[in-house]
Symmetry: C2
Subunit: 246 residues, 2 copies
């Protein structure tokens, strides 16, 4: 499912068309992430529609995660998700009880390589395109907890490939935005169970074949393009995730 399409009424109703139009103006960069867009009354006037209509259009974009409303202040372009969200799948204890602590990050390796055919397809790149391939270890209070493999399409992340990985931030998504102008807007995570191979186990200070939970993530920018592929592995015994149905 592409996230480039609005979840409802793409182009039929007037508010649907308005939502698409506003969405385009945001993607074009007319308002940066964090910016306030014009007031509802101003938008209604400039588009020549009733206030209720523009409000329905904005509601679509709020549902879509592109905009956020703040009563009394205005309507703002979403800043994007922060990279700490991987922790919602795990509960590492004995480290910090309260805990919304951000894990520290260390880049173990960084190299350029040719994209696999699957990667090229997902990124929308030609088959011989290059990608940046990273290995990353995340730790809480010095204890390794998550091991990640990250693949980034090269033309977009050229500046990262040139920079020294020693000085990278603990959170990648805000760094993507600052250094490459890429805002992560949505992620899709696929969870499955696996066992660590010898190398992975060593890095996480666990035994080989130790059970692990594997999170395969696709991250999308505001235009709905996939701009990151990531596989995260963590101790299966620390896995804890809650979800609600209806």
């Amino acid at each position: 499912m592409s996230t480039a399409t609005l979840t409802q009424t793409p182009g039929q109703s007037r508010y649907g068309k308005l939502a698409l139009a506003l969405r385009d103006r945001i993607l074009q960069g007319e308002w940066a992430p964090g910016d306030m867009i014009p007031a509802e009354s101003a938008l209604a006037q400039s588009y020549g529609v009733a206030l209720g209509t523009i409000r329905q259009a904005l509601s679509l974009l709020v549902e879509d995660g592109v905009l956020q409303r703040r009563h009394g202040k205005g309507t703002f372009v979403t800043k994007g998700v922060d990279g700490a969200s991987m922790m919602r799948f795990f509960r590492f204890r004995g480290v910090d009880d309260g805990s919304s602590e951000t894990p520290q990050s260390r880049i173990l390796s960084s190299r350029l390589r040719r994209a696999t055919s699957q990667e090229a397809s997902v990124f929308g790149l030609p088959p011989d395109a290059q990608v940046l391939h990273l290995e990353r270890l995340r730790s809480l209070s010095g204890e390794p907890c998550l091991l990640e493999t990250i693949v980034l399409p090269l033309p977009l992340f050229g500046k990262l490939a040139e920079s020294d990985t020693e000085v990278w931030d603990d959170l990648l998504y805000p760094m993507y935005q600052q250094r490459c102008g890429i805002v992560i807007q949505k992620t899709q995570d696929s969870l499955s169970f696996s066992q660590l191979n010898a190398t992975q186990a060593k890095r996480l200070k666990l035994a080989a074949a130790h059970p692990c939970v594997q999170v395969e993530r696709q991250a999308f920018d505001m235009a709905g393009r996939c701009v990151e592929l990531r596989t995260t592995r963590g101790d299966a015994f620390s896995f804890k995730y809650t979800t609600q149905l209806q």
Copy 2:
């Protein structure tokens, strides 16, 4: 978190109050699950409010899962979730490729016992209350795949305790509704990793200590009361779950 409260604006705005009032009428049984409620225009007139206001109230209840709108037909009370939803956490292969097949169900044991203090608290029962305790095996094409422990508060499920488990349906939730008048409206599932003990492993035809994924579910009726506690275990290698963020 109790699901008895609406997700937004409980009693402040007019549409908030209307939503609560309509919700009560549904819980009181004025309209049964599957029934159509009066048209928006009729409701607006009977409550003496504008059409837009009643529409906002209905929207809250739709978000809450209590009502469903069908363009051109009417607004209907939700029928509740079907029990097959546990399969969204697992992909059992080699059995049926296309597959939205409902697993067959066999009750392995059924007995009455005193509620634990935790169960009594969750169900809102006195500490010495009785519960119905079930063990259940679910199979696809004759192959066991899920093992479940189900706990039901006795006063509500008295009729089930008396009936022969041999003739129970494959899906429990529709049966709860038919025989006990209980509609499951929401579930909350908590996933974690574990290993099978000897008994569990034998029933699932797996080795002892085989890795498993454990789903701990609380199921709520329309009034937001917890009416079922369930623990489901399945082969961790069949675990597969996908989720989206923002």
